[in-house]
């Protein structure tokens, strides 16, 4: 009996040790081992990725982690190097700082949490590693960040022009006339992987309202000028003049009805949302077709 117990103990210890050794060697875990060509940062990032990111983004960075089937929207696929939150034009690679900001901030209305508790160095290492999933990082340079002019004054004229622009470029087709994310096209939207996706509902949050890619007026400006690649949200950089974009920012802020803002105060003082639609005000501030000019409009 005693010898049987000893044998069983030895077998158990051997099995446990074998398993641990195999996992450390990256074999039985099924996870790929770091490539010899990895830089020190990529090597460290690999370890961090396996610890924090792999469950959602997957071993191969393709967004097919174990939890992916249960997540909506789906985790980012790093193999195609297409990123929502960028300071660079649509179709271009983001800056490292854009990716780091996403890690710090998390992505609102998704399962991507904030990774603020990680150290700056760890976040830099993680970015270095996720860039190994796509060869685009070897053949292309990140885009040139879009230029954002200083914010124009928040006044009722700016909000009216923003309202007109909202109509003119038809933001309401997806976001709805009140910005509730319920426009006529909202129910049919899909992302680049053909997964259903909902437009942002401006009225959904309170004073802590966040967008997918930030919280400030400048972040909001950047979102619609660069677009959110991989989603139905296009870039408007070719069609909205840089200063006019601030008007749209000011109007969009008034759609956040549960958030206190200077824009809402200005609109309230001027008579509330109804004032934007009355013929009287339109005659004072020109019709939508005259008060806002789309960039380069007028012909081919």
């Amino acid at each position: 009996m005693k010898s049987r117990m000893i044998c069983l103990s030895i077998l158990l210890i051997a099995a446990t040790a074998g398993s641990v050794l195999a996992q450390n060697a990256g074999i039985s875990s099924g996870y790929p081992t770091p490539r010899n060509s990895f830089s020190p940062a990529e090597r460290t990032g690999h370890g961090l990725y396996l610890r924090y990111c792999v469950l959602c983004h997957g071993v191969y960075g393709d967004g097919n982690g174990d939890t992916a089937p249960f997540i909506d929207p789906k985790p980012r696929d790093f193999t195609i190097a297409t990123f929502k939150c960028r300071s660079t034009p649509t179709g271009t690679l983001p800056l490292d700082t854009d990716l780091i900001h996403t890690l710090v901030r998390g992505v609102e209305t998704s399962n991507m949490p904030s990774w603020r508790p990680l150290s700056d160095e760890n976040r830099t290492d993680l970015i270095a590693y996720i860039k190994t999933f796509s060869d685009r990082w070897k053949t292309e340079k990140p885009g040139e960040p879009i230029k954002i002019p200083p914010e124009t004054p928040v006044d009722i004229a700016s909000i009216r022009r923003g309202h007109d622009l909202f109509q003119k470029v038809e933001c309401w087709k997806c976001h709805g006339q009140q910005g509730h994310g319920d426009g006529p096209s909202a129910s049919t939207l899909t992302d680049s992987k053909d997964q259903p996706i909902r437009p942002y509902n401006f009225a959904s949050a309170g004073n802590d309202a966040r967008f997918k890619c930030g919280v400030t007026n400048e972040d909001l400006y950047r979102i619609f000028m660069t677009g959110l690649d991989g989603t139905p949200m296009p870039s408007f950089a070719d069609v909205i003049q840089p200063n006019d974009a601030w008007d749209l920012v000011h109007y969009l802020r008034t759609l956040q009805v549960n958030r206190r803002s200077k824009e809402r105060e200005v609109l309230k003082a001027a008579g509330g949302p109804a004032t934007l639609k009355t013929p009287e005000n339109k005659s004072e501030n020109n019709s939508p077709s005259n008060s806002t000019t789309l960039a380069h409009s007028g012909g081919r």
Binding site: E170, S192, G227, D229, P232, S235, D238, G299
Partner: protein
């Protein structure tokens, strides 16, 4: 001796230009067998400015057929035998959005050739190609704005969609050859100006996949090559 020299001179005079400037043509027809899936009707009532442009009901264009089982919108191109001379055509190809449809449904182009995208509608479109190997971008194009100019630097068949109007679907065919055509008007295609040589001709359809055929051009001649796809539900 003199006669021999004369003969060589005459041969050089007449045969060399023939070999140098001979150019054959591959032409044919694309057809299908079986029963293609019925195309779905498109309800454009939410976009009246587009709906009123169509006198007859509009359907999806995934499979466009003609009389005698003809199959349109098939990209037919030389996939090997004619090394890409690297000459990118100076003229842009255009892709129009009109009546909330893409015209043409499939636009072929050479790698790095300029692609001009137009909006001839009274509504905003967002043009959203979905490449796998080229870079993905997504741009809004309200009515009255100038064409969007883009180019692709890698060969690929790229689906195109408009998120605002979910029925709008099309394709870009980015190729490394200038010898291509897209079957139309009853499945017809023509690949002219092919110097003597052996070629592989590939035909690609968005729902039915690809087919290839080998052909040899020996001089000024027209070779018939026909493709028949098997229609299948999708």
């Amino acid at each position: 001796m003199r006669t021999k020299q004369m003969l060589v001179a005459l041969l050089t005079l007449f045969v060399c230009p023939y070999l140098l400037f001979a150019a054959g043509t591959v032409s044919g027809k694309v057809t299908y067998t079986g029963t293609p899936a019925r195309q779905k009707p498109i309800d454009m009532s939410k976009e009246p400015s587009c709906a009123k442009q169509h006198a007859t009901p509009v359907t999806t264009e995934t499979v466009v057929t003609g009389p005698d089982n003809a199959l349109d919108n098939v990209v037919v191109y030389v996939s090997s035998g004619a090394p890409d001379d690297g000459q990118v055509p100076a003229q842009a190809v255009t892709y129009d959005q009109k009546g909330c449809q893409y015209i043409p449904h499939v636009q072929a182009m050479h790698v790095n050739q300029e692609l001009k995208i137009l909006n001839d509608d009274q509504t905003s479109h967002n043009i959203h190609p979905l490449p796998k190997v080229n870079r993905e971008w997504n741009k809004s194009q309200p009515p009255g704005t100038p064409p969007i100019s883009e180019k692709y630097d890698k060969p690929e068949f790229i689906p195109v969609k408009c998120n605002v109007h979910p029925w709008m679907h099309g394709y870009f065919a980015v190729l490394t050859t200038n010898h291509y055509d897209v079957s139309k008007d009853g499945g017809d295609f023509k690949l002219p100006n092919l110097p003597p040589g052996k070629y592989t001709i590939t035909a690609w359809h968005e729902a039915y996949g690809t087919q290839t055929a080998d052909v040899t051009i020996t001089g000024n001649e027209t070779k018939d090559v026909n493709f028949t796809f098997k229609a299948k539900p999708y």
